[in-house]
């Protein structure tokens, strides 16, 4: 499986660490709504098809990526930085040089 890191380019899946279901919504930190916390900590989607996931390029630039992956075919239809659509400052610098 290849994941095209927006910063590093297409890389083998062994360079990445799966960091979980990208659909989770973290409740307000002060919230005592236990249902919401329970859903955030434990409930996971397990779709047969497109799945919104978070991967870290742990063997590369270490950025967290939002990846839409089809669980049936492994087709990856989109990859983006979780931190919006721009690379962090240091990485942008490196890109400018290139």
């Amino acid at each position: 499986m290849l994941i095209t890191c927006p910063y590093c380019g297409p890389r083998d899946v062994i360079e990445f660490t799966y960091q979980g279901d990208g659909n989770r919504e973290r409740p307000d930190p002060a919230s005592q709504n236990f249902e919401a916390w329970n859903a955030y900590v434990y409930d996971r989607l397990n779709p047969a098809g497109d799945h919104n996931e978070i991967w870290q390029h742990s063997g590369g630039c270490r950025a967290h990526l939002r990846v839409v992956r089809n669980t049936l075919t492994h087709e990856i239809s989109s990859v983006a930085f979780v931190r919006g659509d721009h690379a962090p400052a240091t990485r942008r610098k490196a890109e400018d040089k290139a």
């Binding site: 973290r26 409740p27 930190p29 236990f34 870290q56 742990s58 967290h64 931190r83 919006g84």
Partner: protein, 1002 residues
Amino acid sequence: MSPRRTDTGGRIDRLKTIRFTFDGVAYTGHAGDTLASALLAKGVTLFGRSFKYHRPRGLLTAGVEEPNALVTVLKGEVREPNIPATMVEIHDGLVAISQNRFPSLAWDINAVNQLGGKILSAGFYYKTFMGPVIGPLKGTRFWMFCEHFIRRAAGLGSAGSAKDPARYERMNAFCDVLVVGSGPAGLMAAKTAADQGARVMLADLEPRFGGSTNWSDETIDGAPAADWARRTVAQLEGRDNVRLLPRTTVWGYYDNNTLAALERVSDHKEQTAKGEPRHRYWAIRARSVVLATGAFERPLVFPGNDRPGVMLAHAAERYANEFGVLPGERIALFTNNDSAYRAAIALKKAGAAIVAIADVRSELSPEMRKLATEAEAEIFAGHAVIATEGGKALSGIKVQRFDMVTGALSGDERSIHTDCLLMSGGWSPTIHLASQAGAKAEWSAARQAFLPPKPTQQWPTQQWIGAGAFTGSFSTAEAIAEGRAAGLAAAGGTSTPAALPTVEAAPGDPDPAPVFEIRAKGKSFVDFQHDVTAEDVRLAHREGFVSVEHLKRYTTLGMATDQGKSSNIPGLAIMAEALGKPIPEVGTTRFRPPFAPVSIGSLAAERFGDLKPERLTPMHDWHLANGANMYSAGLWYRPMIYGLSGETIEQAYVREARATRESAGIVDVSTLGKIAVQGPDAAAFLDRVYTNMFSTLAVGKARYGLMLREDGLAFDDGTTWRLGDQDFLMTTTTANAGKVMQHLEYFLDVIWPELKVHVTSVTDEWAGAAIGGPKARQILAACVTGTAVDNATLPFMGIVRGEIAGVAVMICRLSFSGEMAFEVYSGAGHGTHVWEALVEAGKPFGLVTYGLEALGTMRIEKGHVTGAEIDGRTTARDLHLDWMLSKKKPFIGSATMDREGLIASDRLELVGLIALDNRPLNGGAHIVEELDEANPHGSIGHITACCYSPALGKHIALALVEGGKSRHGTRAHVSDPLRNRFGPVEIVSNHFYDPEGTRMHG
């Protein structure tokens, strides 16, 4: 009469003689021979003994699908078993032996197994080892005794135990178009794609490119087909956008068009060239793939179809035309399709007499009759072979009138004298790779074969494109046309290439008659390698196996090393008939990697031995030079003890710990995880990450911190130092350094992107030495310059900067040992220099170096927690760290840590234990209220860490025990049946030593 080498013809070099041995007998062959063709040329027909019945077996095929002629190749001490002789290229000095025979191939004692056919039927193992109890023969034990002999008698070659000295390599490759198979379709596809400018890889498992052109009598563009193939290969060789991989089996097809291939680089050579590996594993990422893998010819199932001398028709054609070997002088054919007639012509031309062609079809086309006449063969239309005769070689066959529709035999048997019977049961496309890629095969009633389906994945390009016999297009003209179309599509080309080459070939209908088996008296083999007969398949059906997957496992049909390349379809057809269902309804099994056996060495390549990287602290060499026994802690190596001569490990750590508490000790703590947390929001970030406050921490001070996970359980602990307003140095436990880093990065990147914080792993930038004990401050005072180290300048948890022996250091007063202690950090490059200066300064004060054992002992005495207690199941409260849970702010885990289950009163809590029998305790031992050595039960907890405490003079432990504090002062027992350690303990507070902390605050 026996097989022989022809005077002319074939793609071997008769001028080059090669010497090798088989079963100790010296033979010669020619360059271009396989072990199979060279032995056949010398009249050898007996190659092996079958798996169960030890029946004599000869060559069935000429290629990778060979189920019978398996040999073991010996190279020095190394033996490689179960290699088809058809895939071994001979070279000078080759040593091969036959398998599964004793004492010799010709006289095999286990051949008596043939008489016991009824007992050794399908499901033999399942039925046997459920053994009955007969008198003194206690069923199972008796059978286990027998099993040894049964397993020895049944089987394949045996693997060697010598270390394989060969070198293996792994290559990652990228290309636009990978073409698998180099027959007319593959060659055409590769050439077309290369002409379009695509980067092309062409792989074929045979040493010679060209596929069927190497043995067909066809012409392409007026020249022999092989010449066309050679010219095409020569054109490809000259191009720098083409990589040719002969002897390369593409054996796995994975996601994203990643394919695995095995290149046999030097197996065919007497000596490997310098730097050359034995095998090379290719991991190929292809933009598109052309599958031109051809088709396998199927055997027919009839009594005696496994006798040496019975082989596939195209295999004989290959031996004659490619290797210049006639497999017999008087050849008969038995077929259900037209392709065998081409073989008859080829063998006739090569010098054999074709004595008979038995064809199950009663109506033959005029073209086939003409070919038979040309071959001077007697035609038996509407006939079938019902028996074969002979021992280790074929001497004759019997034919009888056969009704294709009912399967009935009638009329007189007729004997025909022949030394070689060629059979053809039609062709099955080699769809293995497509099937691996996820596609379900589709049955073609016309071709009587499973054809490759449409590819399942269409992105980023179409997964693969098929061409030639792989798609069921069995003629060369079709193969060339499809190959070009496939090459063009795979390369994304649009330009129109020149006209297609013209092919001249013998006529023939690609569709066989739907006949797989002739039912007559005798053993008819379906799976030659696993000795599965047609009757075994029917027996499985009678015993209730209806699913093809179950049938396969029960009879082991198709489960040998050949993976049923020749047996799957006939087996399926017989099962379908037994079930009274059409073949497509019975279905076929999914092919899985590997397509053919793969050397384990190639998968490991250079990655063998101890693969763990070693992490060494800056002072590692000093430790070794000063008598440390090193201990591996995760990837790190740390001193366990610095033993004096004659000391046991326990004596050493007790001495080290005692000396530290009496004067001073120093320990290397460079392995602690260190993370620089910097930025305007660093303090706010730490408040969210830790359970306690860090924003209130003064610059130049450190604080002990605890982290929880999102689910409220304890995660990691350590001290974090505030070096500046926006500059923190976090330390983590050695084991969790990587996990904590990832945890922080996740929250900064995903959850709180608005926080302006940067985290950097600086574990390897700093060397750390912890020096503790009543005299530690005096030692520092003796060697530190640029700062005072008195209580006012350096209070508990204070940080100062100074110099030791001219090197800048950072000193924090904190304690793990419970003594007054200091952690001295310097740049990693100066670690040994500073360490040596500290050791030197400590000499007058009796400073000792101590290792992990003494470190652990002192922390147990103090009741500090480590990863053994923060084990992913414990909460802050369980560990009595609830004083660290801030109520003034939310933090990671704060919302979930007080859930019902996490605050229950019966949770395991941290306690101390003292052994009342004054014997050592063991980690992992259970704690029970009532001792029952015979039937250990009723655990109320377990020991997490233990030691002999020099400070208390007792064997003590930390434990997680139900009820925890409420049991302080009560008695319980350790129950450790594995190590037979039972005995009374007293449950006490985990703070054994100096609970008020007066020593470290002092």
